[in-house]
Symmetry: C2
Amino acid sequence: MSHLQQSFAVRFTYNVFFTEKLFKSTNPLLADFFTQQSSELRKKILFVIDSGVADAHPDLLTDIKAYFAQLTDRVELVPELIVIPGGEISKNDPALVEQLVDAVDRHGVDRHSYIVAVGGGSVLDMVGYAAAISHRGIRHIRIPTTVLSQNDSGVGVKNSVNYRGKKNFLGTFVPPVAVFNDRDFLITLDDRDWRAGISEAIKVALIKDSLFFEWIERNAEALAARDMETMDYLIHRCAEMHLEHIAGGDPFEMGSSRPLDFGHWSAHKLEQLTNFELRHGEAVAIGIAMDCLYSQQLGWLTDADTNRVLKTLRTLGFSLYQPMLDADESKGVLKGLAEFREHLGGQLTIMLLQGIGKGVEVHEIDAAKVRWSIATLKEQEPTAESQLV
Amino acid sequence: MSHLQQSFAVRFTYNVFFTEKLFKSTNPLLADFFTQQSSELRKKILFVIDSGVADAHPDLLTDIKAYFAQLTDRVELVPELIVIPGGEISKNDPALVEQLVDAVDRHGVDRHSYIVAVGGGSVLDMVGYAAAISHRGIRHIRIPTTVLSQNDSGVGVKNSVNYRGKKNFLGTFVPPVAVFNDRDFLITLDDRDWRAGISEAIKVALIKDSLFFEWIERNAEALAARDMETMDYLIHRCAEMHLEHIAGGDPFEMGSSRPLDFGHWSAHKLEQLTNFELRHGEAVAIGIAMDCLYSQQLGWLTDADTNRVLKTLRTLGFSLYQPMLDADESKGVLKGLAEFREHLGGQLTIMLLQGIGKGVEVHEIDAAKVRWSIATLKEQEPTAESQLV
């Protein structure tokens, strides 16, 4: 018996750019990016666009074509710009992944070419997955168009699709080669999507950075009123913390390290229970509220701090109760604990708070305390009349 | 406009063990491996086995169950050992990937659990792919059972399946967590599979190590006569060179670096043209012969050295001509050049020889010289009568 040891490190480097009017001819960012990519050959670029974004920006496809018409010396735009449905539905339909793989084949998009995804987190997840598995990984550029994707998933290293309704069951860890956050896409978001992404910023602030939470608390009304400068700072700081967490730990989660997932165990299940009518960020807001109340019951989070978090979430416009929280327990949120453990692997690990800015992992969850948190949220919920917006 | 730069390195480490009687209770290798894996929890192990291997080793499933029955304190064998068809067919059928993903779901196999593949290169490729995409990557152990997989693909970092007949169109780069090469599996190989894997050793010797080629040349008769000690050395040295190439360069082929693919551009196409009746290694032997003759025409490889290579391949028992080499050029091997470029991406890059042990990359291939190589191989081929084995 003998053995050979293999050991090597692979370095991944990418930039997250913050810009506006990305596809206007006056913005050199994308053109410069392709100029700087070392290349012996002109590369192909395949665009995949979220239909919601294409609808809200009727000039988008024309702008993209015009922008790349200036760059034909460097890159070749695949003339077919693929528009696919946005939202969680895009991750539920295996035919969409197949449609993209087929386009890769049909248009001869090789591993040194680029697939660009323009859209919300779900579209980025799905397109990233199709890019990751085609030819063992085609270079992937993300252009996130929602608050959630610009400050969280879109700047990270994961992609995924759902499998038989199980969220993110199929996927890989593959960093993008670049991310372009264009603030103009945020202007046309509806209020729900504008708001939903803020919950990820609250999440990361609560577990890592009390000053950032205080900033969000002070600026909750401005954010609710859609002040763009305030949102710019929130996205930049949240993206920065997300990138730091990835680089500082175990980027591909090969060991026991976890994603930044405070408030997420119940959120994933709630999304599924509501058939994804609840947006991810909306579910995370409820999950944050639940896990703050749970931390309060442990005596880890003061009553005052718990109320500050709930008040901030409500000021932002989040509903903190959803009737599916009271679904039969044989299929309710508590079932989500097992699925959450199974998806991340290893021991059950749930992040709780020992104060604002201080996340702590636990490995057991007491069902009675979860039930109390749910009952409290239900009790505090404004009546149906006052909920009408 | 501003940007954040993300940069991190991910280290991958794994051992390739050379052993025998891996699943006998007297062999502690696997048990030790699982003891050394850091673990807060007992992990699940899902076995997927090549039907050809299961048929040739009727005690295999019983042995695996008995072996893991001793290890229940450390690991939990999923009681259903999945047996799937071996050979290229396993990479052509999307239902098999689905069957494995479904088993992952049904048996609650998480990312910190293990999927073990036992089989030839095709089964390892397919199972590795299913493991790589499930839960964003379940730990994967390879137990290669053929010469080809023990010295080449099985010790590397790639996995794949075919898509609509296009070889390796879908796949990822994900290193295994361990490889166990058990020489006993080689004893039951039929002559074609025993021989086929030797062509990858000749390939790596020709482009990197003239002394290793001379060793193969001297030992060709012993290898053809199935001398096991000789094969042990061949596999060990070939695996070692394969691992060195991966670690020394660009393991995930993100830049312009290439796999060790001398003789492979035509081999991939020939496999497809013969509907995979030609084994990969048999096709590579023909591809090596073709690219040696091509190098000879360039004046880069002497007539004597060219003949040494062809003679060694024939001594080993390889046929160096296949009628599909003369298929209509609208669909023939020359079409394989474009597909080869597209799959690897970037500029066409073909390895040729400037002497034994010295591979050199070129970026153009002259069709007339390819035709001459094919005609030469056809002319030199023994008549049909003498071919009968």
